[in-house]
Every structure is written in structure tokens, then in C-alpha cells.
């Protein structure tokens, strides 16, 4: 029984982890049809912000929850203004441009901070004991944060004027433009918000992962698969795809081993996209956000 509860929490964390690393990508993809291949590097920059800030004496919570999204959000706005806005509607070109951007970020961070940077932080919040099993308190905190983040994005899209205009732009950019909405500004804000969410995710993962300039590469594939499996709806897509893929991965990895666990995740995604080429929300939950 202890094992079941403890394992369930672990799988829940695996799901939250997937949702956390994918949400920023989903926002940018869902709103703007731009696939940001520098997404992994945005996560890396969030992590680096936390490592560098804490090495310079900044409180870890401020570094993770304030600085990481702020720094990466600003970088996102700059990137959108300088690069992305010239390429809207040209998906292949944006793929290529953002891939180049990812190489640029890796090169910049390596030349500024070196191939690896020493850190002093460890996960706060101690250990939760369930019978004979222990779980990380920090991982439980990440589950809560992920849920709150999803709720916040939902509220922003559903309840604010910005959200209304953004959804309008998403559905029909030309019509929104005709009604006096500055779609260019909406795109800039959306890209910045997506980047900020990604920076927050990278910052939150910093205490429990290794932070290196090249670490983005290990996240981009999983985030990409999650977003494509989820389909166009930002929230419902990310959430359902994370539950499905994270759940399969966690259970299979526990029963067999990590290699088969990874294989199971990919096989599930392939079968899913064969049956639902437009992702989960292209077939089910079509009216959802």
C-alpha cells in the first residue's frame, strides 16, 4: 500500500514534469503556430539564471520564482522583435531560425560561463515519508506549482481582456486586425509570456537536474512530442498529453526499466498521432482551450 501511494505520487510528478517543460512551448505553438526549437535553451537559461543568481547570494525562491521567468521573458520579447516577427506564417523558416538561435544560446552561455558551472543549491523542502518509502518534498511542491500554473494560464485566457483578444487573434488574426487589434503586439506579448513560463520551468527544475549549457537538448524532444500529441488547445492539449505520456512512461519504467519506459512513451505518441493526426484536442475536447 505504501508503495502504491508513493509510486502514484511519483507518476504524478512525472506527469507534472512533462506538463511543466511543455507548457511554454504549447503557448507559443498554440497561439502563433511557431515551433520554437530554442525551447530547450529557454529552459537552460532559466536554470542558469537560478544557478548564477544563487551563486551571487540571491535567495533561491526569488531566483526561481521571480528572476528566472523575468530574465527569460525579456529574452523572449527581444527574440520575437528581432527574429520571429519577420517569419510569421513561414513554419519551416521559423524552425530553422529558432534552431540557429538554440545553437547561438548554447555558444554564448558556454563562452561566458564555461562548459560547466559549479552550483551550491540543493532542493529545498526536505523529505516526505510514506511508510517505508520516501519522496522528495520539492517534487510534491512542483506538482502543486504546475497545477497553479495551468490554472493561471486558463484564468488569463478566459477572464482577462488580454486573454479574449489573444484568443480572438488565435482564431482569426486578420479579423482581429480588422477590428483594431494590434496583432503584432499580441504576438510579442504571447511569445514573451511563453518564454517566461519556460524560464520559470527551467528555474524550478534547476535544483533537481544538472545545469549545463547543452542540457536543453534533452528536453526539447519530449516537450515537442507532448505538444504535438496534445494538439492545438494549449491547456487541454498539454494536460491530456502529459497525463497519457507521463503516465505510460512512469508505469512502464517502474515495471520494466528506463529504456523500455522511454520506448513506451514514444510508441504511445506514434500510435496516438496515427489515430489522431491533429493531436488529442484535434479529435476530443475540441472546444477546449
Amino acid at each position: 500500500m505504501d508503495l502504491v501511494v508513493s509510486l502514484a505520487l511519483q507518476i504524478l510528478y512525472g506527469i507534472a514534469n512533462l506538463a511543466l517543460i511543455s507548457l511554454g512551448l504549447a503557448i507559443i505553438f498554440g497561439m502563433m503556430r511557431v515551433i520554437n526549437l530554442a525551447h530547450g535553451e529557454f529552459l537552460m537559461l532559466g536554470g542558469y539564471t537560478v544557478v548564477i543568481a544563487t551563486n551571487n547570494g540571491v535567495n533561491i525562491w526569488i531566483a526561481m520564482l521571480v528572476l528566472a521567468p523575468l530574465v527569460v521573458g525579456v529574452i523572449g520579447v527581444v527574440v520575437e522583435r528581432l527574429l520571429i516577427r519577420w517569419l510569421y506564417g513561414r513554419m519551416i523558416d521559423t524552425l530553422l531560425a529558432t534552431w540557429g538561435l538554440s545553437l547561438l544560446f548554447i555558444g554564448l552561455v558556454t563562452s561566458i560561463f564555461g562548459a560547466s558551472t559549479a552550483t551550491t543549491i540543493s532542493p529545498p523542502l526536505g523529505v516526505i515519508t510514506i511508510g517505508a518509502y520516501t519522496s522528495s518534498g520539492y517534487e510534491m511542491f512542483l506538482i502543486v506549482v504546475t497545477v497553479l500554473l495551468l490554472v493561471a494560464v486558463y484564468a488569463t485566457l478566459k477572464l482577462t481582456t488580454l486573454g479574449l483578444v489573444a484568443r480572438g487573434t488565435m482564431q482569426n488574426a486578420e479579423m482581429s486586425s480588422a477590428l483594431g487589434v494590434s496583432t503584432s503586439r499580441i504576438y510579442m506579448i504571447t511569445f514573451g509570456l511563453g518564454a517566461a513560463v519556460t524560464g520559470l520551468a527551467g528555474g524550478l527544475l534547476a535544483p533537481i537536474t544538472g545545469i549545463l549549457p547543452t542540457i536543453g537538448a534533452v528536453y526539447i524532444a519530449k516537450a515537442f512530442i507532448t505538444v504535438i500529441s496534445g494538439g492545438m488547445a494549449i491547456l487541454a492539449g498539454t494536460a491530456t498529453a502529459s497525463v497519457l505520456l507521463g503516465g505510460v512512461n512512469g508505469i512502464v519504467a517502474f515495471l520494466t526499466g528506463p529504456t523500455i519506459g522511454e520506448v513506451a512513451l514514444l510508441v504511445t505518441a506514434i500510435i496516438l498521432l496515427r489515430l489522431m493526426p491533429r493531436g488529442i484536442t484535434g479529435t476530443l475536447f475540441r472546444k477546449s482551450l
Binding site: G14, T119, G126, P207, G210, I211, L212, T214, P258
Partner: protein, 416 residues
């Protein structure tokens, strides 16, 4: 004489065709060509960058002291960017294009196996200066790094005596991890222990939660890790976050050679035990001077030193010593000099080529991690590569160029 167009073209093209050979010979006459192929970007740069720095340092030192045989060493460094394809491309370039006198190259076993045949075919002397799973038997290839019989064979009994006999093995899912895991299983059984489980991880896994639960379920006395690369650093952090480092300690055959001990905090890493043929903390005058020179060279940006970086430096010196003894850079003369028992007293102590295997007899140090640095607990001097000696005898048959453990230890006739 009026030059006809046709004659002009003929003589000009003859000169053009001949010139590379002329230039090639002219250059070979002044500098000795030393090519280094090591990853300095993408995932493996945490290993490769310090190795390149120490290689440059060794070559600069030799040149400042008057070069070799009165000639300077001409160092050329290629960055294969953690891509096997670029390794094969640069290896061909080094052998056929640069006509290198020696090539020091490769970090992962996969990269070594991709380029080793190229150097055999082009007859270019090849050094591999990285700790690995053992088993290369190649007259043209000198493997100076430590192998499991030198390190793991010490690490397993030491940690089992300290912590207990049930060992949970986790390893990276490619040839190094697979074969090293088999060595660990063998040494655990040889010492009367029980390898309760062995798990392999693709190099991009970052969520180790399910495995940590399995370790809690299996309740071993210790965990032996042969994890590799940046993504796998997450394991040590998540293990500590679940409070496990307090109850089930970790030993590792890889932790620290990518300076991982700086990437996790002191409380996450304290108590881990590792064995390598070099630690920055090795206490001798040669090493202290080496570490100081390295820091003076690179200033505040100097990375921590580990076996890979130290051995890249020592490997260059061993080769230089053999060239001096041979009095020539000719490949067979240098190989014979190397196999006559050439040694170098470097930062790690004496490193001496063992002629049956072309590997190295070397000191091995066992150390515990404390506050992001290693405290040396035991020193084992002049350890032979007994694993490779089981399957390889180049004295009896020099015409070999194989990797004996390609299909695992059982296929090589070793019981695990």
C-alpha cells in the same frame, strides 16, 4: 621562346599537382604533427574541454623546453562536436590530409571504435587517454586510461566492506555502461556479494523517480553508478531530494570525471566513493606544481582537474618520451620504444606502458567526496590492466587490431 597555351597549361598543372607533396614534405621537416580530436561542444564538452587545455599545456611545455629531437611539435586540435560522424571525418583528415605523426583522440568508447580502424588502416599512431571498459587489443593503439580491473576491482570490495553486500547497479545505456555493469556484477560476486538489480538509462533520461522507488523497494546496501553525461547528473540530485543519500550510499565508476561533483551541492554529494587513477587532490609535489601551472594558465576559468584531463597531459608526455628514445617519429620505431617500457612520472605518479596490451600500469586512488572535493582514502601503486591481460597478448601476436569486449564479457570468455 614563345610559350604555347597547351604547353603552359601542361607545365602549370604539373607544378600544381606536385606542389602539395612538396609543401607536405617541407612542413614535415620542421614541425612534428600532433593531432588532437576531442569534443569541445555539445554534450561531451564537460569531458573534452579540460582535456584539450591540458593537451595544449603539455605541448607548449615541451616546445618551450626546446621541442622534440630539435623540432617543435605542431599541435592541431579538431572539435568533433560530440558527433561520431565528425570523428570519422576528422580522423581521415588527420591521417590522410594532415599526415599526423600521432593522434590523441576520442572520449566515449563509441567514438574510439569509430576511428580506431581508420588509424590502423592509415598506419597512424593512435593514443586513447580515457578511462574505459577495457579490452582493446591493437598494436597501433595505446590506451593509457584506467580500466575496471584497476579501479572497479578496488572500489567494489572497499565499498562492500564498508556498506554491505547487496549492490544495485545503474549504468548508461551504451557500450561503456553495459560492459562496466558486467564488470561490477563480476566483482560483486567475486567478493561474495549480490548484485540485486541492474538498470540501464538512455543518455537523455532526466526523471529518475521510478528507479528511485525501485531502489527503495529493493533495499540494497549500496548503489553503484556508471551513469554518464549531463542529463544523468539529475539522478544524484533527485536521489538526495528523496532523502536516499542518507540511507543508501552511492559509489561510482564515472562520477567526477566530468566534474559532476561541482554540479551538485555539497550536501547532495557528501559520502560518495569513487576510484580513479588521478584526483586533483593527489598529494605529491609534481601534482601540486601541475595544478598550479594549469590554474596560472587559465586563471579564474580553470575547470577542476580529473583523470581524463591529467591523462591527456600524461599521454602527450609518454608519447614524447618514446619519440626521444626512438630518436625518430617513424611509427614502428615509436611503437617499439613505447612497448619497451616507456614511463612518465606525472601528476598521477608513474604511468608505464604495459607491452602485452599497450595499456598502462598506473597508480589508482580511492576517494570519498566531501564538500565538492575528493578526500583520498587509499592508494594502490603500479596497478596492471589485468582485465585486458586476460584476453590480449600483443607480445605473442602483434598483428592484432580488435576490441575483445565488443559483445560483452561472456563472449570474450570471462565468467561474470
Amino acid at each position: 621562346m614563345q610559350l604555347k597555351r597547351r604547353q603552359f597549361l601542361a607545365s602549370a598543372s604539373a607544378a600544381a599537382l606536385a606542389s602539395p607533396a612538396i609543401i607536405g614534405r617541407a612542413m614535415a621537416a620542421d614541425g612534428i604533427k600532433f593531432v588532437s580530436i576531442l569534443d569541445q561542444s555539445n554534450g561531451l564538452d564537460i569531458y573534452g574541454k579540460p582535456m584539450v587545455e591540458t593537451t595544449r599545456m603539455a605541448v607548449d611545455e615541451i616546445n618551450d623546453a626546446g621541442g622534440l629531437l630539435g623540432r617543435p611539435i605542431d599541435l592541431k586540435v579538431y572539435d568533433p562536436q560530440s558527433s561520431i560522424q565528425l570523428y570519422t571525418q576528422f580522423a581521415t583528415q588527420a591521417a590522410a590530409g594532415d599526415r599526423a605523426d600521432v593522434v590523441h583522440a576520442g572520449i566515449t568508447s563509441a567514438s574510439r571504435e569509430a576511428i580506431r580502424p581508420t588509424f590502423s588502416r592509415f598506419q597512424v599512431l593512435y593514443f586513447y587517454n580515457v578511462l574505459y571498459e577495457g579490452g582493446v587489443c591493437d598494436i597501433n593503439n595505446f590506451c593509457t586510461g584506467s580500466t575496471p580491473a584497476q579501479t572497479v576491482e578496488k572500489l567494489v570490495p572497499y565499498t562492500m566492506n564498508k556498506w554491505g553486500k547487496k549492490v544495485y547497479i545503474i549504468a548508461a545505456d551504451y557500450n561503456y555502461g553495459q560492459i562496466t555493469a558486467q564488470w561490477v556484477q563480476k566483482y560483486v560476486r567475486d567478493n561474495g556479494g549480490d548484485p540485486v538489480a541492474t538498470e540501464f538509462f538512455p543518455l537523455d533520461v532526466t526523471n529518475f523517480g521510478p528507479t528511485i522507488k525501485k531502489i527503495q523497494q529493493a533495499q540494497p546496501d549500496m548503489v553503484m553508478s556508471a551513469l554518464v553525461g549531463g542529463a544523468h547528473v539529475s539522478f544524484y540530485r533527485q536521489y538526495a531530494a528523496a532523502g536516499m543519500n542518507a540511507s543508501i550510499p552511492i559509489a561510482s565508476t564515472t562520477f567526477g570525471v566530468g566534474n559532476e561533483h561541482k554540479l551538485i551541492s555539497a550536501e547532495e554529494g557528501n559520502g560518495m566513493i569513487c576510484a580513479y587513477s588521478y584526483f586533483e587532490e593527489v598529494d605529491n609535489a609534481t601534482n601540486k606544481a601541475f595544478v598550479q601551472r594549469f590554474r596560472d594558465r587559465l586563471g579564474d576559468d580553470a575547470p577542476a582537474l580529473n583523470e581524463l584531463a591529467a591523462r591527456a597531459y600524461e599521454g602527450a608526455y609518454i608519447w614524447a618520451e618514446a619519440v626521444r628514445q626512438a630518436g625518430s617519429t617513424e611509427r614502428m620505431a615509436v611503437i617499439e620504444a613505447l612497448r619497451s617500457g616507456v614511463y612518465y612520472d606525472g601528476p598521477s605518479g608513474r604511468v608505464q606502458i604495459e607491452p602485452k596490451t599497450n595499456h598502462a600500469n598506473q597508480n589508482v586512488y580511492l576517494a570519498e567526496l566531501k564538500d565538492q572535493s575528493f578526500q583520498i582514502l587509499e592508494t594502490y601503486e603500479n596497478q596492471p590492466p589485468t582485465d585486458t591481460l586476460l584476453v590480449c597478448d600483443l607480445v605473442a601476436d602483434p598483428n592484432q587490431s580488435t576490441f575483445k569486449f565488443e559483445n560483452g564479457l561472456k563472449a570474450a570468455g570471462i565468467d561474470i
